[in-house]
């Protein structure tokens, strides 16, 4: 089920009704939330709930065994079982076809003709998110950083909690399971703020991402011609905005819906396009994934504890795998490679250049960072390297002869909106929507909220899928 559909609001109204009625005790409410979460997921593809159940059962069992077992060898084996099941699901469902295609290409290089059995594998929605979430549970128990959930119900709800099930934020066990131990109820303030966040998230998705940017990005990236440099830039900027509004919109909705239930989820975005440098960017973009990769990949790979060379290798490997996490294609790996290179170059430069950041050079550095980020989005969005190279050629070599595929109004629309987006991120980089909302008059806030709602309604979402659902 998608947040940007009417049926979701019927679903949410029913959930809230049961959640706030008095005839259910806290355990009953949690059971209801768990059932609702399975319905939320199952209305997409019912049989794939089985995967959720298997992940839940295996990691619940492993977590309990790890907490009791003292033999380090046996503990390691239990952890390996959890990783084998979770990564096995990912490998089969997400990377199965990719691995086969690459294997076939590889053996073909040696004139070996191999024709594999064709598999029509469905990518289960949100598999990358919930497998990472459950893996963090078992790894944290293995590292003795957290304790097992008090009950199977709490753990199952942690894995399946519908607001963040299919596209995060990826929440750590200690941050979410513990919230299920005591009865939760949103205060009036929390409920209203949660409703506002849901509205804001939908506005970002339905009006800005789908309504204003998606068509332009699609037109440009679906073109097979060498484009005029304006069109290539406009298409890339449109995608840059689209993916932010789409994903940040989802996260904002998720945080808002959870808050309406009295559950607090962490921020996933903090104005990433206002970032100064790439380390800063990754502290602001998809925060729950970056911190997951840092804690469970970068640091285990050595982090910065084994010298500079090893640190750069760890950094690059983390970014390459981070790229691959987004999709089973070499273009995603290259996207990760570019970010890895940016981070390495940034660290090298920091060793030789020290810049005292002020408002003037800060916005310039943020703009440079944003510009470099846009080059990476080309590989993220393009269906093939050919398309990506065409786009980069047009963007860098100012192709005046290239084809024009974007109309004048769309050029102004995209440049205007992305300009506003960049400036908003720059000016908001050290604050939050909540802080700003507290500074403005409640009437003005109400008018802004009504305007957001008005535009969502007239945009008439046909329920376009969120981009990150495919990851």
């Amino acid at each position: 089920m998608l947040f940007n559909t009417l049926i979701f609001f019927v679903f949410l109204a029913i959930v809230l009704l049961f959640y706030y009625t008095k005839f259910l005790n806290w355990t009953g409410k949690k059971r209801m939330l768990l059932l609702a979460s399975y319905v939320f997921y199952g209305l997409w593809n019912p049989p794939l709930i089985l995967l959720l159940w298997i992940s839940t059962f295996v990691d619940w069992t492993v977590g309990n065994k790890l907490s009791k077992e003292t033999n380090s060898m046996v503990r390691k084996q239990w952890l390996l079982l959890s990783m084998f099941v979770n990564l096995g699901f990912l490998a089969f469902f997400k990377y199965g076809n990719f691995l086969i295609e690459n294997f076939v290409s590889f053996v073909n290089m040696f004139d070996v003709q191999y024709h594999p059995f064709e598999m029509d594998i469905i990518l289960p929605m949100g598999i990358s998110f919930y497998t990472f979430q459950t893996m963090s549970y078992t790894i944290d128990i293995y590292r003795k950083k957290t304790t097992p959930a008090k009950s199977f119900l709490d753990f199952a709800l942690y894995v399946t909690f519908f607001p963040q099930l299919v596209a995060g934020p990826i929440v750590r066990a200690k941050d979410l399971i513990t919230q299920f131990y005591e009865p939760k109820k949103a205060t009036v303030q929390q409920f209203l703020w949660g409703s506002f966040l849901l509205t804001l998230g939908l506005f970002q998705k339905v009006v800005l991402a789908d309504g204003m940017l998606a068509e332009t990005a699609d037109t440009v990236f679906n073109s097979t011609n060498l484009l005029h440099f304006t069109d290539a830039w406009v298409g890339t900027l449109a995608f840059s905005g689209q993916i932010f509004f789409d994903f940040a919109g989802y996260s904002t909705c998720a945080i808002g819906i959870a808050l309406m239930l009295g559950i607090i989820l962490p921020d996933n975005f903090k104005y990433p396009y206002g970032a100064i440098g790439f380390s800063d960017l990754w502290r602001r973009w998809h925060i729950s994934l970056s911190s997951w990769l840092k804690d469970y990949l970068y640091i285990p790979l050595g982090g910065n504890r084994h010298g500079i060379t090893r640190m750069y290798v760890a950094l690059m490997l983390t970014m390459l795998l981070g790229g691959l996490w987004h999709g089973a294609a070499w273009t995603f790996v290259f996207w990760g490679f570019l970010h890895g290179m940016y981070l390495i170059v940034e660290r090298l430069l920091k060793n030789v250049i020290t810049i005292k950041i002020n408002a003037w050079n800060g916005i310039l550095l943020a703009f440079i960072t944003f510009t470099f980020v846009n080059f990476t989005w080309v590989f993220f969005r393009a269906q093939s390297f050919d398309t990506a190279w065409n786009m980069l050629t047009s963007m860098l070599f100012m192709q005046p002869e290239g084809m024009k595929v974007v109309e004048s109004f769309d050029v102004y629309k995209v440049l205007g909106l992305i300009g506003v987006l960049f400036l908003t991120h720059w000016f908001m980089r050290d604050t939050s929507v909540k802080e700003v909302s507290q500074k403005i008059h409640p009437v003005v806030f109400g008018i802004i909220w009504a305007i957001l709602f008005f535009f969502i309604t007239i945009a008439q979402s046909s329920g376009e899928q969120f981009i990150y659902f495919q990851f």
Binding site: P46, M212, F455, G463
Partner: protein, 335 residues
């Protein structure tokens, strides 16, 4: 906030109603899928209609039902070839009823290339029918009810020039042209559809000549920019799938609905009857009804390609009478 939002949306609704918009249903992949799902439960006595917009406009389901006692399943799609739908019925269903296939020669014989518009349009709906989730089905039930209540909810897959959803309003802001290539003239919605996909021409088409001319301009644009027909591959494709269908006991009836003016002239030039329609009928041996052959099937087309609702009712009545007289359809009410 809630009051402001309700006032704003109320004003928006009233504004569009004052502009002449009314609450209507969108002809989209969801509505088509409802009809398509009816085919899975249909019996040998049922009838399905395939084709392009001429079948949608010209065959009125209530007239058809009155004459035959059976309401047909409407699977025609505007601007499309019926071949992908025929392929889907042959390969994915065990339906053995009667298929009435509308032959608009420039679309029927246009292509078998999956990415070409006349193929892609119905194929997108077929794919959606199989891929739609339970959430999408439930969502459409809610959406369908709202579409019938509010004029402001009028987003359409066709992307009419007078759509009033946010994207359409932005799309219709015109500035100096920047892209090359021919520009499609404004194309305004000129029909209304109901739950069973029965389609009627809006009265404005035959009451307002300028409006009718705006549609005629669009036919001219399509005519100038359409690739030449691909007779051999479309004919072979149809013969193959039609044979598979009739071999399992199904019946096929071909219908050529009226056209006139410049549209008909274009059809005569690009897809002359003797080389296309007559050859198709001769090769298949199916019962076939061309409007030129029957005085009672000849009605004026206000925008050269479709009948107004009243004439469409009469056309359907006469067409079904002809088919019944030939013994290819019976009246289930009187059997």
């Amino acid at each position: 906030m809630a009051v402001l939002a309700v006032v704003g949306l109320g004003a928006w609704e009233l504004y569009w109603r004052a502009q002449g918009f009314t609450a209507d249903i969108d002809d989209d992949k969801n509505l088509w899928s409802w009809q398509r799902s009816a085919l899975d439960k249909a019996s040998k006595d049922d009838i399905a209609l395939l084709g392009s917009s001429r079948v949608l406009f010209d065959i009125q389901l209530d007239a058809f039902e009155k004459q035959t006692g059976k309401k047909p399943i409407m699977l025609a799609c505007a601007g499309s070839s019926p071949l992908p739908v025929l392929k889907d019925i042959v390969e994915q269903t065990d339906f053995k009823g009667t298929l009435i296939i509308g032959v608009t020669p420039t679309l029927f014989f246009s292509t078998t290339f999956p990415q070409a518009s006349p193929w892609k349009r119905p194929q997108t709906r077929i794919d959606y029918f199989y891929d739609r989730t339970y959430a999408q089905r439930l969502n459409y039930m809610v959406s369908f009810e709202l579409q019938q209540q509010f004029a402001m909810l009028s987003a359409n897959e066709e992307q009419w020039s007078n759509d009033i959803d946010f994207k359409a309003l932005l799309r219709n802001i015109q500035m100096e042209p920047r892209t090359e290539g021919p520009k499609k003239p404004p194309f305004y919605n000129f029909s209304e559809i109901d739950r069973d996909r029965n389609t009627k021409m809006l009265p404005r088409v035959y009451q307002d000549t300028a409006f009718a001319n705006s549609i005629i301009k669009v036919w001219g644009f399509f005519g100038k920019n359409a690739p030449p027909p691909d007779k051999n591959s479309t004919m072979d494709f149809f013969l193959d799938y039609a044979k598979q269908y009739t071999d399992r006991g199904g019946k096929i009836i071909l219908v050529r609905c009226p056209s006139e003016g410049g549209f008909r002239m274009g059809e005569k030039m690009v897809t002359p009857r003797a080389e296309f329609w007559d050859e198709l009928v001769q090769k298949t041996g199916f019962p076939a009804y061309h409007f030129e052959d029957y005085l009672q099937l000849q009605y004026p087309c206000p925008e050269w390609s479709h009948l107004n609702a009243e004439d469409a009712y009469a056309f359907t009545t006469e067409l079904t009478k002809l088919i019944q007289l030939d013994g290819y359809l019976t009246n289930s009410k009187t059997e």
